[in-house]
Every structure is written in C-alpha cells, then in structure tokens.
Amino acid sequence: MKDTPLSNCERDFLLKAIEEKKRLDGRQTYDYRKIKISFGTDYGCCFVDLGQTRVMAQVSCELVAPKENRPNEGIMFFNIELSPMASPGFEQGRQSELSVKLNRQLERCLRNSKCIDTESLCVVSGEKVWQIRVDVHTLNNDGNLMDAASIAAITALCHFRRPDVSTQGQEVTVYSPEERDPIPLSIYHMPISVSFAFFQQGTYLLVDPCEREERVMDGLLVIAMNKHREICSIQSSGGIMLLKEQVMRCSKIAGVKVSEITELINEALLNDRKARKAGGKCGFAESMPQERITALKKDETPVEMTDVTETANGIIQKGEAAPQTVPSPVVPVPGVGQVGQGLQNSWGLEDDDEDDYEEEKNDNSGDEQVEEVTKMDVGEGDVVEISDIEEEEVVILNPEVPEKPKNTGSKSHQKGAAASKKRQKK
C-alpha cells in the first residue's frame, strides 16, 4: 500500500516550527523520546519502545559449519524485518530501499565494530561454530527505526544465553537448559546508534526525528558509538552537504546520549535479572494483563490538581443558566399535542432580504448581553440554509446560523443565532 503523501501545509508547518526551535511533541532539539525496554520469557527476546516506535529483537543460535576463510570464528547474522504491521507503506517481502539501508547500517554498527567475541563462539575449529542470528521486527513505525533497532539488538544480545557445549575430540555434546545453565555471550562493548535529522539544507538539526519530521527532513546522519566514546560507525544519507564542524558537534552530542542510553539498558538488564532470580513470572504474556504491551497505551499525563475545585466553580458560575426546559405539551385538539414551538422553516423562502437581517442583528446585539458563555446554544432550532443568492454573506463552517431569524422563532433562537454570528464577526 502506498503511504499517504504529506500535504504541503503540513510540510510548511513542520518546517516553520523547526525554524522556531519547536517540535511537534514539545521536545527540545537534542531530546530523545521516552525509551522503555522490556524482555520476553525466553532469553534473548527484547522489546524496545522509543516513544511510539516499537521494535522487537530476538536472538537465536545454531551450530553450523564456519566460513572457509574464517575457520575458528562464529557467524553473526542480522536481519531487520519491516512488516506492514509497522506502517502501511511497508510491503511484505519486498526489499525496499529503507530495508536495505537499515539492514546494512545495523550490520555495520554491530558486526564491523566487533562488539561480540566471535572466537569464543567456535566449538570445533573448521567444523562447528555457533551462528548467532539477530532478528529485529518492527512493530510500529513512528520514526527513527534505526535507533530503536540498534538498542533492541544490542540489548537482546546482552540478554541472550546460549546452550553450554562440551567437546570430546570430535564429539560435541550440546546441553539443554535443564542439564546445564546456558551461558551468556561475551560482549566487548555496546554500540548504540544516534540519528540526527537535518532540515533546510543543513541549517537545523534534530535528534531522534519522529515520523512526521522524517518525512520533511533533507538528510540523516547516523552515528553509532559506545560509552567509551569510541565511534563505531558514521553514515550520512540523503542529499545533504555537511560541514566538518557539524559532524564534530553531532559526535559530541551522540557521546552524551549514548552514555544515557547505555545506563538505561544496564538498568533494564539488571531489573530483569533480579526478577528472574526472584522466581517471579516474567515475559511477554505477563506484561499483557498489566497493560504493558498495548502499543497505543497513553502514559499518565501529569495534571495540576491543586486548585481544581476553584477553577471548576469559577467556570460553572460564569456559565449560562441551563437552557429552557421544553414546555409541557399543549393539547389544542384531542389527539393532537404540540410540544415546543417547532423548528425554524428550513425551506429557504427567499422573499426576504439580507439587509433586514443586518439591521436586525445590530438591534439584537444592542439588547442582549455581550457576556456569553464558552458554550453556545447549539441545536435549538439552528438550521443550515442553503440558498443561491450571491450577495449573501458567506457563512463558513458554523452549522447553526439561520439566515433570517423569523418573527415566529422564539427569543432564544434569535439570541443564539445572533450571538454566534456576532462571535464570528469578532
């Protein structure tokens, strides 16, 4: 399915706001969205929420024959799946540009930086090595899939435990988790990628772009670093031209962000370890009843509650008295009852004049109170009149304005109609 194109006014609005250093969700230029990390029941399964962007990473392992030119090293395989679940624009099975970009970037960030000791994955040199496979699935795309995927991948790798093996000569015994405890992978460092979006030919820069911001950005710079301030990979994409100073500044910002995120990951891993040791149930199924799994769950918004009663009272007092109750039915003839005055005639009889309407309106504004409520009298006989006269005033978007308040209409109708018209004029 094709993505809904972004309208020009949305684009202009976003760019204008960025020029004024404002973002859609109220963040500062260098702020990340809220990151939540949770784990599944199996070792190696990890969910990461970056704001509304959700990804899931799963690590699995298998004994295979090694590559010919590297006989005593294990194999790492990375795969990012862009499923249509995440965004209607993603197509199942097709290797789109974005998918290639994300996959290559993740490979470069994790494989080339040698964050995992591959030699420790060797079981029998030249014959059997562990192949570690990291699958990242995107569940919801709200921008910045790269960062979320890198956090998920490295956290899953840290969380993963592989089965213990022992070798007697050529014989290899793989122990199941019941026989011997599985052992974690040996990880040297945790590379985490930070994305910078550039706007207006590189004049403005934002960290962690959301989906809307990604659509209007000119280009992206992804810097992967670890907490020891070593840069693991830099990649600029999009047709932007950078200056050296911009790159240096971005690398400094990335250093700060990466240390924060690494803290978060370590904390999450520690909490999970404690929870498992305490024997408590953990994992995906458990987080469902506690509503931790719902993708669109809103966080609690802090609301100022101290003077809520006074404000509420104030609003009520300023409010208008309750509308007239419907008068009791009048029974002119047995079998016929009339309740109320009936609606205004909406058949658009044009014999009258708009000039009259103007004068009437002005008269009306004289006698009624200008202090009106925040609520309007909507629905009391307000009708929409559609007529073909060109000289009529254009009444936009306000459904309750009748053209000519008739004399038969009750006073409240006039009040309501003229009041709303008056408000529009304002």
Binding site: V100, R229, E230, L242
Partner: protein, 245 residues
Amino acid sequence: MAGLELLSDQGYRLDGRKATELRKLQARMGVFTQADGSAYLEQGNTKALAVVYGPHEMRGSRSRTLHDRAVINCQYSMATFSTAERKRRPHGDRKSTEMSLHLKQTFEAAVMTQLYPRSQIDIYVKILQSDGGNYSVCVNAATLAVIDAGIPMRDYVCACTVGFVDETPLADLCYAEESGGVSSLALALLPRGGQIALLQMDARLHQDHLETLIEAAMTACKGVSKVLDEVVRQHLQEASVLTGE
C-alpha cells in the same frame, strides 16, 4: 593478516607509500561512443568504469518523476573477476544495493538537477578490479563520466578512503590495509566549498581522533580533485585539437 605491519617505523606502508600519499591515478574520458558520457579510472590497482546516460525521459515507472528536478538512478556492480575469489552475485546483494544508494545520494547533492525537471539521469559504475577504496574510485570515475556527458555539476565530487593506524591517518587505503581491521573512513567532498556529500565510517575509532581523520580525508580529496581537473583539461585539449579549433 597478522604480522604485516601497515605502517613501518620509517613511515612506509605495505606498498612503499608514505602515510599521506595517494595511489597513482590515471583516467580516460569518453571511452564509449554509445553512452552520453563515460570514463575509465584507475587508482593503484583498483579499476572502475563509469557510464552516464542522460538526461532523458523517465523510463520505467512514470510515477517516480519529480516535477521540479531530475531523478538520478545509479547502479553499482562488481565484475565477477574483480575480487580474489570469484564473486557469485555481482549485483542485487545488499552491499551493492547500499553502494548504489550511496552513489545516488552523492550525485544528487552535486548535480544541478533543477535544470532538468521530469527527466532521469542514469549512472552505471562497474568495478573491473578491486583493490580497496571501491566507493571512492567509483565516485571519481562517475564524476568524470558526468562531466564527459556535459551535465552541469556544482563542483567536482572527489572521494577518498582514509584509515587510522598508530595514531596516523593513512590516505587511500588498499585492500590489504582495509581488511586488516583498520578503521576506515570514506568521504566524498566538493572541494571548493569543503562540503561533505557523503561520510561513511566503519570500525572503532575514538572520538578524539575523528577530527584528524576527517581533515586528512579532506586533504586527500583535494589532491584527487587536482588530478581530476588535470584529466578534464587534457581531454578537452585533445578534443579541441581533433575538431580543429
């Protein structure tokens, strides 16, 4: 390749170059008659052929036409005989697709696409022999081909791969140096304004060294741009002699 020191004590590299020396760059423009622009470029042992078609009408999916500028379409492929072991998939695998995307991005920044709305420019690059610095050689070859095709560009696009060994930046890496686990940075630069069209770095490098590395890359690119400029002027002179101007 343990035991092969990439930078000796006297400051010489594996092939006898100094740390900031570039490999020998030789290039020819206008090698094919069918294409609008073509170039052949050798940088040391890495050889690349670039061919440009365009600007012409949008082919394939009309829906990708841009109303205000030209679409640049790049394809990068390596000949099966280009590497030490025969390449099984010359194009279509992830690395080649990524390279093609990078080339496209680089040239979108440099070519004045606003002059050709609703049209398409194709750039095809093929590596005939790969000895390190594939991306940089492709970019340099493609620049010459685009100039040969007469398509206006903002500036020469020069690229170079630099590595960092023993606190020293090495310019223009060869394959042995690249695969030795050296942190390598590939940079595509528009020399006159010092603007970076593409920046790509793999392997670990401490943040403090980043600035030196980028500086070294920019200097190397400026060196490449001088050579490319020479080649273009030479070619123009030959062409004008032939047409008798």
